[in-house]
Subunit: 422 residues, 2 copies
């Protein structure tokens, strides 16, 4: 029997969107995958690019290559400007595409709680460009510190402030401590290693607040051993070019990194659907909209509730399983079949702290230290895309483990060094 | 006997300047190495970054790391603004350094023969930033071609023009032919591979004009097999955003790359010395200035004559041997000794043409094809800095050899894709 193939448009090639496309590969549907960038980004390792441990290419995979052999998948590098649900169309600059099913997997951006002017001074870490910018900021700080004689002025370039004590903040703090106390300072002959100060600011009473208490405490001790100063129960009240204002305290720092808040991509507003307080689309247990069963929202842009009424966390295992579910649902629906609502089984959480330390929480077992780190390494190598990338990332980690050296210590945009006074 | 150590200032961490510093490592002199960028760049492989074959980090080595164990070498990341020979001082922004010996190894930039406005449309390839810009321009061209329906407009994005048929131009043309005819076009489902056209424009009557005639002809045949169109005896008369004007012909092309001319760094003018017509300092057979024996100029910024009165070519073996010579001369001079004038022994030339093809000229033997390419691979791996970099570059080449895949196909600066109409 011949019939008109249905068209599935996926917006976003992150973990959620990519998984939908993979599961629809060579299936009897037309797929259009639209992304603003030409690569899928392996975000869990992005902080390693920001701290000069890995080159961008090994954690970013061209979407076209992933689907080069999938005849039913078309990849479009473009930015969606409008979604019109009444027309069942998606509009880009100058062209539009019709869908039968729409999967919106557009992720989140940093959220500055109404202080958008902070973004310039305290960039967040979502894209490769973000990571490269942060890397250059860190490296340039040390170069400036090396050339400055005035001790107060020098200290400013040796102070690093990370706002937000979740997994990203913890991993950044650990990695910056490691490069500043070990990798870099051996190279700078005028700087005193003990002067580098890394502050991790967290509003709640512990870092990794979504982890079990014992692991939070273990992570804090590990960070402190690396020289990180954890400032708990403290909110940032203002940020400017080289200052972070806390309740009654000021830290002078030329490098300030934001890891505190996320908000769903503003494209979600165009769906005219119910959203939660950080802009995520509230979806049904089938991950589609209550008033439009053909539109699915998944990943960090969706608010999905578990059986206790809590929203699922914005981590890759959630995004991947949501993507897998939606692909399956669409294929069944085309055959006129139904499937059960989506359910998430937490397989565990891992966060790494500097070199050779990590914390792991699998619900039934919790552990930390070297073996947690080894598990972290294996899991991340396993989930990377491409045999060659796995080998090279592993090589990089083995070398880094034994030498303290970091591979990608490049300042490419030298103008930054000479133009600004920062 | 105690004495005041002499200070050697080296400006520039390219092949020439780096070699001077290496040979002065842990010798009884103070060395200050000043560079605008934080890395030494392995320029012979820069075209591979521009054509997405290698990640920047593997051909760029932090200068500080290279000299981390050399107590007598200080690395300064900074831009020299003025050289005052009468004061024996070098001025940076806000600080200055005194020297006993000055080594100027500041290299060359592209030269547009009085048409500096072409630079914007036809960038050259000297720095990592140049290479990344060219890489993004090439990748974005294909993305645009994929989305455009109008055949003339599409052809513009599939035309690539390289101006200049020297080694850089030949290597770029071969690599672009390879990615556009093989690597990329398999990924783009709407583009017809035969439509990608690569033009190599050369003013003289053959490509690789400094090589023996037979190798020029072999290289031309190899390029043509890859689909490159060699346009000889032809000068570019005008370049604008998407057009190259030749004698009576116009090529529409969104990607235009300049590999035609070099000119010494303008800092040379501050030496108030004799210069040749491309701005290079004319040096004595001891590589110093006729009127100032303490100032040496080496590498691409110097005009050094061989015994036939021809200037030595701007290639890394010349720069390296010049650097080695100057370091030796300075050390001898401090001991009150003299050495013989510098002489260059040509060890040969190599140029690669796409994948698995190259030409080699060693004076006493000339050959081409697969074995020339294998030699090229071995020589380049050998001269790379760092054991790990060698392993990873070799891995990249082995994978590329068997898969046609390119590692670093990243468009990081997505704004370029959406802002401009190019």
């Amino acid at each position: 029997m011949k019939f008109q193939r249905k068209t599935v448009i996926i917006i976003g090639g992150g973990f959620a969107g990519l998984e939908v496309a993979k599961k629809l590969r060579n299936k009897p549907v037309n797929v259009i995958l639209i992304d603003k960038s030409n690569h899928h980004l392996f975000q869990p390792l992005l902080y390693q690019v920001a701290t000069a441990g890995l080159s961008p290419a090994y954690i970013a995979f061209p979407l076209r290559s992933i689907f080069r052999k999938a005849k039913n998948i078309r990849v479009i590098l473009g930015e969606v400007k409008r979604i019109k649900r009444d027309e069942k169309k998606v509009y880009l600059n100058g062209e539009n595409y019709s869908y039968d099913y729409l999967v919106v997997a557009v992720g989140a951006r940093h959220h500055y709680f109404g202080n958008n002017h902070w973004e310039k001074f305290a960039p967040g870490l979502k894209t490769l460009q973000d990571a490269i910018n942060i890397r250059e900021r860190i490296l340039i700080s040390f170069e400036k510190a090396e050339r400055i004689s005035d001790p107060d002025e020098q200290q400013k370039y040796l102070n690093f402030v990370i706002v937000g004590g979740g997994p990203t903040g913890v991993e950044m703090a650990g990695a910056i401590a490691e490069i500043s106390k070990k990798t870099l300072l051996e190279d700078f002959k005028k700087i005193d290693p003990s002067k580098a100060k890394i502050y991790l600011i967290e509003a709640t009473d512990r870092i990794l607040p979504t982890y079990p208490l014992e692991l939070s405490e273990k992570a804090k001790r590990d960070l402190e051993k690396l020289g990180v100063i954890c400032v708990l129960k403290t909110k940032v009240t203002e940020i400017n070019e080289d200052k972070v204002y806390l309740n009654g305290k000021v830290i002078n720092a030329s490098t300030i990194i934001w890891a505190a808040g996320n908000r769903a991509n503003p494209l979600i507003q165009q769906l005219n659907c119910e959203v939660d307080k950080i802009g995520r689309a509230i979806v049904t247990p089938f991950l589609n909209l209550k008033n439009d069963k053909c539109v699915f929202v998944i990943g960090d842009a969706a608010a999905v509730f578990d059986k206790n009424g809590n929203t699922l966390p914005g981590v890759s295992p959630v995004a991947i399983t949501e993507g897998r579910y939606v692909a399956k649902l669409i294929l069944k629906k085309i055959q006129g079949k139904e499937i059960k609502p989506y359910r998430y089984f937490n397989k565990g959480s891992l966060a790494t702290i500097g070199k050779a330390k990590a914390v792991a929480d699998f619900g039934w077992i919790r552990f930390s230290g070297f073996f947690a780190w080894l598990l972290w390494v294996l899991v991340h190598i396993f989930f990377l895309i491409g045999f060659k990338n796995r080998i090279i990332v592993m090589l990089e980690w083995i070398f880094a483990y034994f030498t303290h050296q970091k591979s990608a210590r490049l300042i490419v945009d030298e103008k930054k060094l000479y133009e600004s006074n920062k």
